[in-house]
Amino acid sequence: MTNLTDLTVAEIRDGFRAGDFSAREVAEGFNANVAAAKALNAFIVETPDKALEAADAADRAKAAGETPGALAGVPIGMKDLFCTKGVQTTAASHMLEGFVPTYESTVSGKLWAAGAGMLGKLNLDQFAMGSSNETSYFGNVISPWKRGGGDNAALAPGGSSGGSSSAISARLCPAATGTDTGGSIRQPAAFTGISGIKPTYGRCSRWGIVAFASSLDQAGPMARTVRDNAILLEVMSGFDPKDSTSLDLPVPQWEANLSSDLKGKTVGIPKEYRPDGLNAEISAMWDRGIEWLKDAGANVVEVSLPHTQYALPTYYIIAPAEASSNLARYDGVRYGQRDLPDGAGLQDMYAATRAAGFGPEVKRRIMIGTYVLSAGFYDAYYTQAQKVRALIARDFELAFEKCDLLLTPTAPSSSFALGEKQADPLAMYLNDVFTVPASLAGLPAMAVPGGLDAAGLPIGLQVIGKALDEQTVLNASLAIEERSGFTARPDKWW
């Protein structure tokens, strides 16, 4: 019999509808995998009963002859940044430990309404700030991948959606939600050999997602195939009056319109993404990707995004600035932790609560943000960064006059060992060098696996599209997926 936990979202959906297996069998299979994978630390809270409850509801509805929802019978993982009614939501912080939302985020609500079931809340970098999942209050997430040659080092699953990437590549769930502020869906997807798409800013409602940097935060799916991402993204997207930046546009039928035929499409290769000293294997994978897209019928041209080198420093002004403002809400009054030293007044309580509740990286970013927004520095840092951000967005606009999509690497390296880059915050920030520019411009961008490097670790490619053109991004990613023949999976050691 087929191992149900090896199936894709599309296969589970279709098999459930065809009556090949019950939703309960699927949920039980994934629940068992989750329960047996504590070593990965991918989940902060496991919710096997929620998964079974949704599965039973799907089975009953099917027996009653009702039309199944888009995700009926499909259990998924939920990044612990999405508020889930009645289930602890922490953003992987001590600050929110024990916080049980009394409401459901729009995106998670849409997924449950489509019939999906929740396997649990997935670990992440604290408040989604990190690129290796080493800043979680609930411990590091471990990648299921190992370097070849008997190297037993625990590797980073990427971040911030590291619980999502680790769980999907280890077959603990067929798909999961992620959020992406500067690369938090794409870089972990690349590190673990899966796919993930950050849609155009405004496609997915931010309502009920713990805020990090509101002008950048976007939810998106992560899964093993491009088709699965299209299925989930259709469910997650859509106008929400509760999010003032939500786009009031119909949701395209991305899955139905999937096509890997790229005839008539022009792919831009941004020359600034190939700096001196780019990892040779990453560079070679990029070249292979170019050939794959040519093979799919696309024309390839070189384009220039001249302000690329300024994207990361721009991001590390804007994101901390917004974070310092967003995270001001954690004051020990309305929810979350409170630390009240003996005899403390209100101001002392705030400071003590925030000192105890936030981890070092979160404090670092709040303080950077506070500094760049403070009187006398605001124009030099924040206003300047927003101007450079406008130039970065203009670079993309000009490039898209010559092409329909861009192909780049996703991350500058394959996964690294936990602890390897933690000593230097700046070295860690450089991980996002290829993903941050599209975030600053609000563009849809997808990571898709390309192959393995010499160490046996996945490396990925990134497809960036025009605003609102997720279809081309998905289609080009599908063309890569069909040609890469990427079927590698980590050997089970956990």
């Binding site: 209100l346 927003q386 450079v388 967005a393």
Partner: protein
């Protein structure tokens, strides 16, 4: 792309211990002297690195205000929620008599 290298600590900026303590205070995060001391080179490194934005010519460029053009919607001026006091207070560290409770503010 030019390699972005962190500047040597403290070179480009001159954030000192006192400034770190000031930022921590503005951020409402209490820090010990040792923590603040450790943050001096860290923050200098990061701020020294972002300083490079100063070299970009932004003449005539308006700062970005919306990443994807969108209209500011106005909704009907009607009550859309409320009467959920218990839900609002449900996660409060300390709630009393239907209110959030905090340490005494007025001496």
């Amino acid at each position: 792309m030019k390699q972005v290298e962190p500047s040597a600590s403290g070179e480009a900026m001159s954030i000192d211990l006192q400034t770190v303590k000031k930022i921590a205070s503005l951020s409402r995060i209490s820090v010990t002297d040792a923590e603040a001391q450790a943050m001096v080179p860290e923050l200098n490194n990061i701020l020294g690195w972002v300083e490079q934005l100063g070299e970009v010519d932004v003449t005539g460029i308006e700062p970005m205000t919306a990443v994807i053009p969108n209209v500011q919607r106005l909704r009907e001026d009607v009550v859309t929620d409320g009467n959920v006091r218990e839900l609002v207070l449900a996660n409060a560290p300390q709630a009393e008599h239907g209110f959030f409770a905090v340490p005494k503010v007025i001496e």
